[in-house]
């Protein structure tokens, strides 16, 4: 159920030994909200948006006057200059 809600690293750690009744057991459990849970929401967007972006990406890096490797090196230089990860 915790996974369905969106938690990650869900772990049933063990029993506590404190049981309320003969048919229940005390347990310890931990879960974490992902650091990129908002990015996860982006992934839930209609597939169209992602595939259009992929089309743009492929077109931009397609072999042309400049080859693919040169374009990637320019992108790397630009992203470093802008202070962002490539």
């Amino acid at each position: 159920m915790l996974n369905e809600v969106g938690f990650v690293d869900v772990e049933l750690v063990g029993e506590t030994g404190f049981n309320s009744s003969p048919v229940t057991k005390g347990v310890l459990c931990r879960a974490r909200k992902s650091a990129i849970s908002d990015v996860g929401r982006f992934e839930m967007q209609p597939k169209d948006a992602l595939s259009k972006y992929q089309e743009f990406f492929n077109a931009a890096y397609a072999e042309g006057t400049l080859d693919r490797k040169t374009k990637h090196l320019i992108a790397l230089g630009a992203s470093l200059a802008a202070g962002c990860d490539p």
Binding site: L2, F18, S20, T24, R30, K33, A35, I36, S37
Partner: protein, 202 residues
């Protein structure tokens, strides 16, 4: 797995919880099949240094089923929510752990329990704790309010567990942790809703 209770059943579940826990608020002694109070806290290996700072009558009000703090480190300065804080022993342990730069909120459904929690808080010098009467199914906090959510022996009493878990997820910040001690049912759910409602908080 989940049972959809109608409004009458939910009302009776709530009344059953209130009935039991207003007695527990006076003293948990003899009302659980496991050790409560100081013996319970020591059995669950709470930090003796933290327990030392709380008075005996505060420790006596503990009726948790496990130690949420054994699951992960709670850091100085963090914001913690305790769902179903009861008499507030875990809330106060969290408040000592996060220190004056941190803050802790305890919520509970049972007014008598919150009164006991406030009385316990008054016996300390902690300034970073607040209490609210609220349901776990509808948390009265904005998204991403807390670094840590703890809960001890409470989720088994919540009729709509999926809704409550979605609320925990919503109020946690990114990378926030949910540290849970609780009772799980071994074997099948009772097929009979009537007996389930009647025995909910027993």
């Amino acid at each position: 797995m989940e049972t959809n209770f109608n409004s009458d059943e939910r009302k009776r579940i709530r009344e059953g919880i209130n009935e039991k826990y207003k007695r527990v608020a006076i003293s948990p002694e003899g009302k659980f099949s496991y050790p409560t109070g100081r013996v319970g806290l020591e059995g669950q290996k709470y930090d003796p240094e933290v327990l030392k700072t709380l008075s005996e009558d505060i420790l006596a009000s503990y009726c948790g089923v496990g130690n949420p703090f054994s699951l992960d480190t709670v850091n100085k300065g963090e914001a913690v929510l305790d769902i179903g804080c009861g008499a507030s022993v875990d809330t106060l342990v969290a408040a000592i752990t996060v220190g004056p730069e941190g803050k802790v909120v305890g919520i509970d459904l049972v007014p008598e329990m919150l009164e006991r929690a406030k009385a316990n808080l008054k016996k300390t010098s902690l300034k970073n704790v607040t209490f609210q009467e609220a349901s776990a199914e509808t948390l009265p906090f904005p998204d991403k309010s807390f670094d840590v959510v703890i809960s001890n022996g409470v989720f088994n009493l919540i009729p709509d567990k999926a809704k409550a878990l979605r609320e925990v997820f919503r109020v946690l910040k990114s990378s926030g942790r949910f540290l849970l001690a609780d009772q799980i049912l071994m074997g099948d759910m009772p097929a009979d809703t009537e007996s389930m409602v009647k025995n909910w908080a027993r």
